[in-house]
């Protein structure tokens, strides 16, 4: 027996598993599996139960994150690294997950309609989150790729699982384009591997540092990596899926995508470009800067002419990706770039989720129609909202102004911090473009308020949205965070500062 153990040991040394490092991920995975079991063997379990379990899982994961808070190391032979980016994104992602869970629990189907998302959406949500935290923590391109696939597949399914036709179309577009772009990403990984002989970020950093060879192969790989990441964070010209998908998918899922995918995507963006490839910044900064300019302007400009709020939010999220790219462009040379981007992600996540929550609330107004191909999110549905649902309108105003970047709301500080980073990195011209873009974007954020506040309601009063306690809770949290971060950003800013040192 003992001998056998010895034999196997020398034949196949047992791997060192650093359980603690991945405790939160494990918790998420476990919760996901448990939920799967519940869904499978207790079909009559209400959404409340599932939501409760999900939240419990998230809470545990959050607790473990806190437990790991000042853990700072590279684990699993460089597969994952625990540093500021990891823990900050974990925190944000778990919070976003909780809000998304609440939204999903409420659902956006009116009384008398079947739920438009199956119960499996809860475990899928957890798995998606798992993929995202992994993505944020991954310090090996292979893990990046796998984590990306985990979250993408979960999201494809969450989108496609709705009975609405638009949702399935969205799922298909998202899937085909996602697979297409991940092939590019993969090719990028291959080229990086070919150029450096490893997929480990530390190794790549080391290899890219030494001047042997002109590194063209590596640069080509970087370019393709950028393509993959830009697609995930929906930067122009890889953005075109975004409006269709956000508009088509059920609002809770869209909100989750808009907030969480960005967090994870930019976390990895920062880790790879600002961290591992920081040495090559002179080569890739022009690319990122150019993409940023396109993203900011195109996103803002196209949002102006939208007539559907979900779609408009999609374009606005594109332009916000542009601002974040400013942070990324700055990050390689200016530490503030990293913390600015992380803080921006935090603020943005809650703003945009809040906005989508209002959308969800409004989409419940009006009579049930089971075979609607998509939800009611046209701007016309918001006419005179202030007269009939003053609270919803008020919250909408808060989120819109925050997205515009009006002080003292969270969005303002985020924007400010990114601008600061940009100027510190000597990218003032880029910041000026950002200013122009945010002026353009003011147009459409205001347009929403114009419709909600300054126009008279059309038709007779719609049916009440029914009781929406859970959604109300979610809205309360989101708005509270948006305002609170705006009034007292200190703690979260200094927390973001700790993310500036990137391990591997």
């Amino acid at each position: 027996m003992h001998l056998l153990a010895q034999a196997t040991a020398e034949l196949l040394p047992l791997p060192q598993i650093d359980w603690r490092a991945i405790a939160p991920e494990l918790a998420l995975a476990a919760a996901g599996v448990v939920l799967l079991m519940v869904v499978a063997f207790w079909p009559k379990a209400g959404r409340g139960v599932l939501a409760g379990l999900t939240l419990a899982g998230l809470a545990v994961a959050a607790g473990l994150t806190a437990w790991n808070w000042d853990l700072s190391r590279v684990a699993f032979e460089g597969a994952v690294s625990l540093d500021g980016i990891t823990r900050y994104s974990r925190m944000v992602l778990l919070a976003v997950g909780a809000l998304a869970t609440l939204m999903v629990t409420q659902g956006d189907s009116r009384e008398g309609e079947p739920d438009d998302t199956p119960p499996e959406v809860f475990p899928l949500l957890l798995f998606a989150l798992l993929g995202m935290v992994l993505l944020a923590a991954a310090s090996d391109l292979l893990v990046v790729f796998i984590a990306l696939e985990i979250l993408s597949l979960s999201l494809y399914v969450m989108a496609g699982s709705s009975r609405r036709q638009a949702a399935q179309e969205a799922a298909m577009k998202y899937f085909l384009l996602g697979a297409f772009s991940s092939a590019f990403l993969l090719y990028g990984i291959a080229l990086c591997y070919g150029a450096t002989g490893t997929t480990n970020l530390l190794g790549i950093a080391r290899a890219s540092a030494d001047p042997t060879g002109d590194g063209t192969l590596l640069l080509a790989g970087i370019g393709l990596l950028a393509v993959g990441f830009c697609f995930k964070v929906s930067a122009v010209p890889f953005h075109m899926w975004t409006p269709d998908v956000y508009q088509g998918t059920p609002t809770p899922v869209a909100a989750f995508m808009a907030a969480a995918t960005k967090v994870a995507g930019f976390a990895v963006f920062l880790r790879v470009f600002a961290g591992a490839l920081g040495g090559l910044v002179v080569s890739w900064r022009p690319v990122i800067a150019a993409v940023a300019v396109l993203t900011m302007l195109v996103g803002a400009a196209l949002a102006v002419v939208q007539t559907d709020l979900k779609r408009m939010l999609a374009y606005s999220s594109i332009s916000h990706a542009g601002y974040l790219l400013v942070g990324v462009a700055a990050a390689a040379t200016v530490p503030a770039g990293v913390s600015a981007s992380m803080f921006y992600l935090l603020a943005y996540a809650f703003m945009v989720m809040g906005a989508f929550m209002v959308v969800q609330y409004v989409s419940r107004l009006g009579p049930p129609d089971d075979d609607a191909i998509r939800e009611r999110s046209s701007l016309d549905d918001y006419r005179g909202l202030a007269r009939r649902h003053p609270w919803a309108a008020g919250l909408l105003a808060v989120f819109m102004l925050a997205l515009t970047g009006i002080p003292p709301l969270s969005g303002f500080w985020a924007k400010y911090y990114v601008f600061l980073a940009g100027i510190e990195a000597g990218l003032t011209w880029l910041v000026v473009v950002a200013v122009v873009s945010s002026v353009i974007s003011a147009f459409f954020y205001l347009r929403v308020l114009v419709v909600a506040y300054l126009q008279e309601p059309v038709g007779d009063a719609e049916a009440a949205p029914g009781r929406t306690p859970v959604l109300g809770l979610a809205l309360g949290l989101a708005s509270l965070l948006t305002v609170a971060i705006g009034l007292a950003p200190e703690a979260l800013v200094s927390a973001a500062r700790t993310a500036e040192r990137i391990l591997g």
Binding site: V157, A171, K173, L176, A190
Partner: protein
């Protein structure tokens, strides 16, 4: 005269390009998806080749993982396509454009 890694890499790039073209010009969703698979395999070829030039096995392991991922993708992808096809019996990617603008 012998076959250097360049040949394999060129071949891989060529296959990748063919896959890309396929995605762009085919309308049958399933064929489009097959083209994506072709792209992945082209990349795999690169991985294996690079594994040889680098003299380590990581490339082969990566290729293995890629196959796993591809398998998972196929399952989900085909699921989605089937679901869509159930709603309106066409597999043409051009027919799904409710969402635009």
């Amino acid at each position: 005269m012998r076959v250097g890694p360049g040949a394999y890499l060129l071949l891989s790039a060529l296959l990748f390009g063919i896959g890309v073209t396929g995605v762009l010009i085919r309308r049958n969703a399933i064929v489009v998806f097959m083209c994506v698979e072709l792209m992945l395999n082209a990349v795999n070829l690169s991985f294996i080749t690079f594994a040889k030039t680098n003299g380590n096995l990581d490339g082969q392991v990566l290729a293995f993982f890629v196959m796993v991922v591809a398998a998972a993708e196929v399952v989900v992808g085909l699921g989605i396509l089937v679901a869509i096809f159930r709603k309106r019996s066409s597999a043409s990617v051009d027919d799904v454009n409710l969402l635009k603008g």
